[in-house]
Symmetry: D2
Subunit: 360 residues, 4 copies
Amino acid sequence: MINMRRNLKAAILGSTGLVGIEYVRMLVNHPYIKVSYLAGKGSVGKPYGEVVRWQTIGQVPKEIADMEVKPTDPKLMDDVDIVFSPLPQGAAGPVEEEFAKQGFPVISNSPDHRFDPDVPLLIPEINPHTISLIDEQRKRRDWKGFIVTTPLCTAQGAAIPLAPIYANFRLDSVFITTIQSLSGAGYPGIPSLDVVDNVLPLGDAYDNKTIKEITRLLKETNRNIPESYPEDLSLAATTHRVATIHGHYEVIYATFKEDVNVEKVRESLDTFAGEPQRLKLPTAPDRPIIVTNQDARPQVYFDRWAGNPPGMSVVVGRLAQVSRRAIRFVSVIHNTVRGAAGGGILAAELLVEKGYIDKR
Amino acid sequence: MINMRRNLKAAILGSTGLVGIEYVRMLVNHPYIKVSYLAGKGSVGKPYGEVVRWQTIGQVPKEIADMEVKPTDPKLMDDVDIVFSPLPQGAAGPVEEEFAKQGFPVISNSPDHRFDPDVPLLIPEINPHTISLIDEQRKRRDWKGFIVTTPLCTAQGAAIPLAPIYANFRLDSVFITTIQSLSGAGYPGIPSLDVVDNVLPLGDAYDNKTIKEITRLLKETNRNIPESYPEDLSLAATTHRVATIHGHYEVIYATFKEDVNVEKVRESLDTFAGEPQRLKLPTAPDRPIIVTNQDARPQVYFDRWAGNPPGMSVVVGRLAQVSRRAIRFVSVIHNTVRGAAGGGILAAELLVEKGYIDKR
Amino acid sequence: MINMRRNLKAAILGSTGLVGIEYVRMLVNHPYIKVSYLAGKGSVGKPYGEVVRWQTIGQVPKEIADMEVKPTDPKLMDDVDIVFSPLPQGAAGPVEEEFAKQGFPVISNSPDHRFDPDVPLLIPEINPHTISLIDEQRKRRDWKGFIVTTPLCTAQGAAIPLAPIYANFRLDSVFITTIQSLSGAGYPGIPSLDVVDNVLPLGDAYDNKTIKEITRLLKETNRNIPESYPEDLSLAATTHRVATIHGHYEVIYATFKEDVNVEKVRESLDTFAGEPQRLKLPTAPDRPIIVTNQDARPQVYFDRWAGNPPGMSVVVGRLAQVSRRAIRFVSVIHNTVRGAAGGGILAAELLVEKGYIDKR
Amino acid sequence: MINMRRNLKAAILGSTGLVGIEYVRMLVNHPYIKVSYLAGKGSVGKPYGEVVRWQTIGQVPKEIADMEVKPTDPKLMDDVDIVFSPLPQGAAGPVEEEFAKQGFPVISNSPDHRFDPDVPLLIPEINPHTISLIDEQRKRRDWKGFIVTTPLCTAQGAAIPLAPIYANFRLDSVFITTIQSLSGAGYPGIPSLDVVDNVLPLGDAYDNKTIKEITRLLKETNRNIPESYPEDLSLAATTHRVATIHGHYEVIYATFKEDVNVEKVRESLDTFAGEPQRLKLPTAPDRPIIVTNQDARPQVYFDRWAGNPPGMSVVVGRLAQVSRRAIRFVSVIHNTVRGAAGGGILAAELLVEKGYIDKR
Ligand SMILES: NC(=O)c1ccc[n+]([C@@H]2O[C@H](COP(=O)([O-])OP(=O)(O)OC[C@H]3O[C@@H](n4cnc5c(N)ncnc54)[C@H](OP(=O)(O)O)[C@@H]3O)[C@@H](O)[C@H]2O)c1
Ligand SMILES: NC(=O)c1ccc[n+]([C@@H]2O[C@H](COP(=O)([O-])OP(=O)(O)OC[C@H]3O[C@@H](n4cnc5c(N)ncnc54)[C@H](OP(=O)(O)O)[C@@H]3O)[C@@H](O)[C@H]2O)c1
Ligand SMILES: NC(=O)c1ccc[n+]([C@@H]2O[C@H](COP(=O)([O-])OP(=O)(O)OC[C@H]3O[C@@H](n4cnc5c(N)ncnc54)[C@H](OP(=O)(O)O)[C@@H]3O)[C@@H](O)[C@H]2O)c1
Ligand SMILES: NC(=O)c1ccc[n+]([C@@H]2O[C@H](COP(=O)([O-])OP(=O)(O)OC[C@H]3O[C@@H](n4cnc5c(N)ncnc54)[C@H](OP(=O)(O)O)[C@@H]3O)[C@@H](O)[C@H]2O)c1
């Protein structure tokens, strides 16, 4: 199907940001989505290569470095077909609505619309069916465009491995501890004095929003067992940042309502795949979850870029039977790739495939 | 009672090490234990101040800086009354046995004898009664001295808050995730490349030894409820190091066999005290556990030196009801103070009080 | 003389800041200056202990923790005799002028008035005579109070060792490279992503202001040789921050107009002392410069707290003859103690001794 | 010429090390040098992918991951044409001699033979003519193979920009301060406790070996002015490591015997090129020196991978006129690429071009 795509033009909002640069990096080699508009705020008017803080692998792509950063204004984007929106919380919401009103499909990484009931919170391997909310969204809001969101990176690092587990086993409780990277908080982001010779707890607010998102995602995950989402499913998270640049590390203990066999859990993780893999979308990793059996892996430095494209696979390891009804595993997710830009591009590809995005 | 103590002379083995320097620092102001012999291996023959890596607060005490580091040889320690032994694993065991044979009381921080059934694994607030094992030890091994060990710092950071919880509530499972400091591994210790832009998992071996020690400590904790240690009490740990210098941070989720009220748990932690507090031992903190209610506390940098003497209190925070039968809390322990040297000195003070240590 | 001092009451502006906390810490044990007013901006109305980020040694002093942070308003400070002002650049200037107008002696660590010709830029061991500018200042500005400033921490780390060298030898060029700590930039200060796996250059602006301040300080240093400040004395600095918490590290190459003997330079550093030492001011270190001969010293972690009071001595090492007319040395200065609060308190003590500060 | 090369087979000694992995990474895409033998010591017998610590960009190449690590034994390498030797100091020397005796061309990154007078110390852009020493080497030592060394990474970071400056201007003194990365010291390398909240000085030994190597390199640099290497050319270095992973940062002040114009210096750096560029060797960057004019650049994180291939260019910035006879600049070099493996591969390509390496 891929060779039939006509080139779609993408605008990247917040193009100089930590997520914005991953969109730029990943789209320069995309088979059918081209970067055609780099939007910003403070950087407007300057060549991208001069203003960007290129905090990722490789160098600023030559073809992008000379492009001028432009205003975040839908009226200047007539020939843009897709809008990727990694804008900061608070600023994002109204901007995204404006673009949707003006007829643009908006793939957002921001928190602002994640809990609108008519907006999908999409991890394409997990809840692709929720894109049908778009029809409801367009009707309710009477706009031609739409907004689709991708979840909080931290929530994805737990939800992606939990999805096949939840799908196949009767989960009872999940106890999460995270050790997250600095890039997850943007730039300037976390003050250096908070993370030198220290571990920075993010507190109840961040713990709770992580849980809130995982909850919605699990509720939208199809199960292979005859039990719907149990209201007594207990989820807890204790979140932190340390001085790593990219990559969120999560330790997850899960208990079950009945005895569970960790080898069967391993198999469900190992074989996990979804629509993106079936459709062979360009940004879909062959294995959204890569299970490792090495004793001291995954590690953030060595495993965050796993998969193909790099950073699109979540690496799960330390899988162990804790007791008859409890297991433990660790996951590492690339927060700005799978957790943001890569997830956004994959979402766009699914929406193209399903007819929601086309040349405008 | 304190003013009746005659000055006891202490030898510090491994005196230049990360634990050794805390013994030096804490004993220079001790009411009745004096540093009289600084032992080493590679540092032998040189002035302490020249060879020591003083990785702790303050500066090398003037009176100590000019003392020569001497061989680790009991025959040179005739006037020594107490031997503190923070020696590395493997080297420690035989050396400690030799000293005990030669009639010395040995307070050890090393792992080598921690699981000898006739050797106490002592946290003075938790299992002080186990010092009676010394009588058995002396008889079995036919020596006049003895060995008492202090537990793994990581195990203490969990066992100290778990003790009052285990004592008062029917614990079912404990799920621990640690974020430990570098000093816990000695010097040269952890290679820098393992902890820059990375989180280093310690692997199954370290996880398991942490659990093994917590298990013994809980089994030796007196309960206020009519249940002995349940063999199905499930303990799990996932341990890590990051680039912090001192201070182990632990996230602990605990589940119970029946509904539990987190406020009652808070109270049990808040009021926790033991023999050392009752005896007003010099190195006993008024509150071995300090409970904080701040949202983003405890933090390693700000809480590791809590208590009086500084570093002797474990700070517990983020105490929360996760579900009817589950709670979560976080603890920060100073690994070389409460977790090693401070715990060692407190153990010695208890043994002095109970008549096991006196001038030789 | 000390026992004749009546208790002077001090207000600390910016009391919760990185410099503010050092004022608090150092003044709780001061023989005659008492902390009587803690001023702030965002922290106003809350107990100090609750709002302060205590990023220094020890814990928040008990007597201070419950004091309420109050507005930065001279009208509320009737019984205050001295005002210490570590306020941020831009905010500081007008506030300090208002206090001086209202009759307060203001010891400032901020940059705002450092280059007013009638305001001393004081390092008490180096240019104590410049306090006479106060008379001129009071006359010109017609105020009863006054402003005295302390220099940029980075400039002090170079100027303190350069002063005796400049005083005794015919300096020609000075080439400085700094590796500074994060606390020097306040909080939130330096974004973490700038200093993880990176060295952050501060750029021409910071290099130049460092040179500008060293220049003024040297010009105000008395020489023991018959040469006044040579206009062709070339000073250059290349400044950086890395992920250290406290302590600025500076590598200094100095060339001379004639052959120089490094041993004579060593002697001039070793014997360096000034008015504060002669007057035995409480906060004066016996040796403002401590010269070390160890091969891999000074080091930030181990040497920043040198001196008595701790942090008041600059440690100089790696002193070497580079060529007949060039030497090299390294200095470590505690940026918030000698470089700010300690230097401020020492300045106040000198001003008390010289009659410029008394009960108001 | 490239298309006439027959595939040459390379053995990589120390293949799992920090330099070894860069050889692997760079050679998998090489037009005519193939990785055919991965040698090691402790890793022998295991699949490369299982034992290697892949501390560089990308992932272990699939074709390499399953290759078994083999003994460091010339007798097992019959079909190997080139031996790359990034072996540790002390171990390297005898091994390299053995290989040369057995007829292998050895490109070494180790220090052991760098100061043998008949062994080239090669930076291909700077002193390519010194490869003629090979003829002398073979005669003197009566072996068919040979050893060519590449210089200390730190020395290269200074020598590469200094070469065109020395070639075109009458250098008088050079004052260097380095802020080097951890990978330069191998693994386990630098203890983490030395570089957390600290700057680690490397001491006189490292300073001196840096100077010694720069001296030899400059002496072998052709000058465009009628002055040979002045014996009074003064070079000084003060070297350090901080917690960066790759990339050495060097601040260099240079003085001259006469007035110098920094713009002319900029031009000499900008236009610098050598034999590799003329021969268009595959691993030769178009610009061995990339001059940047941005105020806060170069930075280790953003500039270490500069050039094509990435990491082969040294980025020079902060070029400034300090006084009439002095300038300052900063350089960033990728220590394991240009500073080791990349420099080694480039050396091999030059030697192939010049007929010293061919199928054996
Ligand atoms: N970082 C992660 O790991 C991650 C993961 C998942 C989701 N997210 C979400 O993605 C979003 C962006 O995060 P980030 O880390 O990329 O942030 P960032 O590095 O701080 O970048 C924010 C970008 O947005 C632009 N911007 C800021 N305010 C704007 C406004 N009012 N109008 C238009 N553009 C504006 C800025 O442009 P100028 O530079 O031109 O001013 C900047 O390039 C956030 O909502 C975040 O929660 C982040
Ligand atoms: N670090 C912690 O947080 C912590 C907490 C609880 C328990 N512990 C335990 O305490 C012990 C010491 O840990 P550490 O962190 O202090 O280690 P360290 O910093 O590596 O110091 C080890 C010391 O032991 C000496 N030493 C080494 N081998 C010896 C031998 N064969 N005979 C005599 N002396 C020898 C060394 O002396 P020279 O320098 O003279 O060679 C050195 O001073 C270990 O068993 C550790 O598990 C450590
Ligand atoms: N840090 C160093 O090493 C160092 C060395 C020498 C000189 N200095 C100078 O000392 C000054 C303070 O530096 P710092 O590192 O302590 O900064 P900081 O940690 O950022 O603290 C600034 C303090 O000033 C208060 N503040 C901010 N704006 C104010 C305003 N408009 N009015 C009244 N109070 C205000 C804040 O109070 P609230 O928290 O209540 O809002 C805060 O406590 C700066 O001028 C700096 O250049 C610093
Ligand atoms: N790192 C740099 O930036 C850099 C730059 C320029 C030059 N160099 C030089 O390059 C060399 C290697 O440095 P590195 O950083 O790659 O070191 P490293 O990471 O410590 O790796 C050393 C490698 O050598 C192997 N090895 C060790 N001893 C050996 C022996 N006796 N015989 C055979 N193989 C042995 C090891 O193999 P096993 O794992 O199988 O035991 C290991 O893979 C050093 O001489 C260094 O000075 C390094």
